[in-house]
């Protein structure tokens, strides 16, 4: 359900829409840096923005943060003041301590002093910055500044979290920590939008991917199965008895399996590693089931994400 629909409908089941852009266009000096982009950010879901440098990802985040006005189009918010966390790119080394800065940001965002201190301590510890909290930030490395940047965006329990290249400058443990924390936030209902260049982060976190090229939407990919970095295969079958189903579900190489919604009968959809496909198909046939479809999905060289990291211009605007 989109935010635009909410005004005309009483039904609010499913994910909660937080913010929606409808045909958003941004012009700088009469040059379109963003053109007719539409997207819906929902609570409990993460959207990745990908595309080349200059494709409009940062501008899009800046618009969602309320820092940049649209030249045309509409932005609809679920509330007047959504609690928003925003971590822009290239956070500067400030002439004050991380502690003073983070506490100030938490208090400005409306946290009580005790809560602000507790939350700051928790996040500083999580990112291993505890021992640097009283040091001035103008002596920090790029990675440490990025950690402070991320902490300030997370500190006030945002409903909407906007991250511009969040992994930039982070060491590997910090990247894992961040992904783990973002997954927790998703579970607690936060809507996340992030620009990214690493396919692994998309696979780990994103529920959808918005591909931009020259300010236009090239395609939108929904569902985590489509975003797998490693090559995989998606097999739909039917006619398998309940007894044999359990056996098939436990097969090695099967990454996910579920009954297919919206189809008649006992359709079963599975995503599995490509090396396990032959064995899986053999088992289905032996179980007197029939194979409905076999499709490759994900994979850096199999129509997966990498092609969209460097999308080609599309004639007439959108594609996919």
């Amino acid at each position: 359900m989109s935010l635009a629909d909410i005004g005309t409908s009483q039904q609010t089941d499913g994910p909660t829409p937080i913010i929606e852009l409808i045909r958003a266009t941004k012009l700088y000096d009469r040059r379109a840096v963003l053109s007719e982009v539409s997207l819906l950010v929902e609570g409990g879901a993460a959207m990745a923005l990908i595309g080349r440098n200059g494709s409009g990802k940062s501008t899009l985040l800046s618009i969602l943060a309320g820092l940049t006005k649209l030249s045309s189009g509409t932005m609809v918010r679920s509330g007047r003041r959504i609690a928003t966390g925003y971590a822009p790119e290239a956070f500067p080394g400030l002439k004050m301590s991380a502690e003073h800065y983070l506490l100030s940001m938490a208090r400005i965002a409306g946290l009580a002093l005790a809560e602000a201190e507790a939350r700051m301590a928790e996040l500083l510890e999580m990112f291993h910055l505890e021992e640097f909290r009283r040091q001035r930030m103008d002596g920090f490395s790029k990675g440490m500044l990025q950690k402070v940047n991320l902490i300030q965006s997370l500190i006030a329990h945002p409903q909407l979290l906007l991250l511009d290249e969040p992994m930039s400058g982070l060491d590997l443990p910090a990247q894992h920590t961040l992904i783990g924390h973002l997954k927790e936030l998703k579970r607690s209902g936060t809507g996340i939008v992030f620009s990214i260049h690493e396919p692994q982060t998309i696979e780990a976190l994103a529920d959808s991917v918005h591909v931009l090229h020259a300010g236009r939407t090239v395609t939108t990919i929904h569902g985590q199965e489509e975003m797998r970095v490693t090559p995989a295969v998606y097999i739909v079958c039917k006619g398998i008895s309940e007894q044999r189903k359990a056996e098939i579900m436990d097969m090695p190489g099967v990454t996910s399996i579920h009954a297919l919604d919206g189809t008649p009968g006992d359709y079963l959809a599975a995503t599995l590693e490509i090396a396990a496909a032959d064995d899986y198909l053999r088992h289905i046939l032996q179980a007197e089931g029939s194979v409905v479809s076999v499709e490759p999905c994900g994979g850096l060289s199999a129509g997966g994400l990498e092609q969209w990291m460097d999308p080609k211009p599309v004639k007439g605007g959108t594609a996919g």
């Binding site: 820092l67 003073h100 100030s104 965002a109």
Partner: protein, 235 residues
């Protein structure tokens, strides 16, 4: 809002950009009182103009002290541009009132005047200094980096407007019509009123002060309105 003001003061003092305008204001006032005795209202008129110039400089340095990315984060945390800009204005107001208090109290406490200043003259001087300080801030609002991107242009424009404001009495004789009176900050009328406050009826003094206050409210209000609708970019 209180925390936004605290943060702004902390960030500004950490940047050390306050040093130029504050040092200019204090040194100029100390120079003025380097010999005594001094006439009360003439001295206050002179220090009010020093505060006018110092405030315009102080305003410009505070409004531009944040890194653009830092400013973006502050705006998002404040949850509205209007709230952020209002917080910045309140910070400037607090600094101006502090300087005002110091400048007005210093000669009284250190016995720089040729006669006792008296409560009436101190109150008039405090109000006059506050108005001229806020007029200086009003000028700086329109010259901050989001309005005038080149610092050199902003500094040149600031000097020009300050000088024209101080000399607006002469300028209004050269340019007919209400343009000078309406557009230029009424620094000159406030200064003249402070100088002659003892001889002028209170209603005249209040009228001039009201003119300055209306100017400040209108131009600051318009600036707040426009600033809240402008893009905040990273550069």
């Amino acid at each position: 809002m209180r925390w936004l003001v605290f943060y702004m003061l902390r960030s500004y003092t950490a940047s050390q950009r306050y040093f130029g305008p504050v040092a200019f204001t204090i040194i100029a006032v100390l120079l003025l009182y380097s010999y005594k005795p001094n006439p009360v209202m003439n001295s206050y008129a002179a220090t009010s103009i020093i505060l006018f110039v110092g405030s315009a400089w102080l305003g410009l340095s505070l409004l531009n002290h944040e890194h653009p990315v830092q400013r973006q984060v502050s705006i998002v945390q404040a949850r509205s541009k209007l709230r952020y800009h209002t917080g910045t204005l309140l910070t400037l107001g607090a600094l101006i009132l502090l300087l005002d208090l110091l400048i007005v109290a210093y000669p009284v406490l250190t016995g720089q005047f040729d006669e006792p200043a008296g409560l009436y003259r101190i109150v008039i001087a405090f109000a006059g200094h506050a108005l001229l300080g806020l007029l200086g801030v009003t000028i700086s609002l329109y010259l901050q980096a989001s309005w005038v991107s080149k610092t050199s242009y902003a500094a040149g424009l600031m000097l020009t407007v300050v000088i024209l404001s101080i000399g607006s009495h002469k300028l209004s004789e050269l340019i007919p019509g209400p343009f000078v009176y309406i557009l230029l900050p009424p620094a000159s009328p406030v200064m003249d009123t402070l100088m002659n406050a003892e001889d002028l009826p209170l209603i005249h003094v209040l009228g001039v002060f009201m003119h300055a206050l209306i100017y400040i409210v209108l131009f600051t209000g318009f600036n707040l309105y426009r600033s809240s609708r402008m893009d905040d970019s990273k550069s």
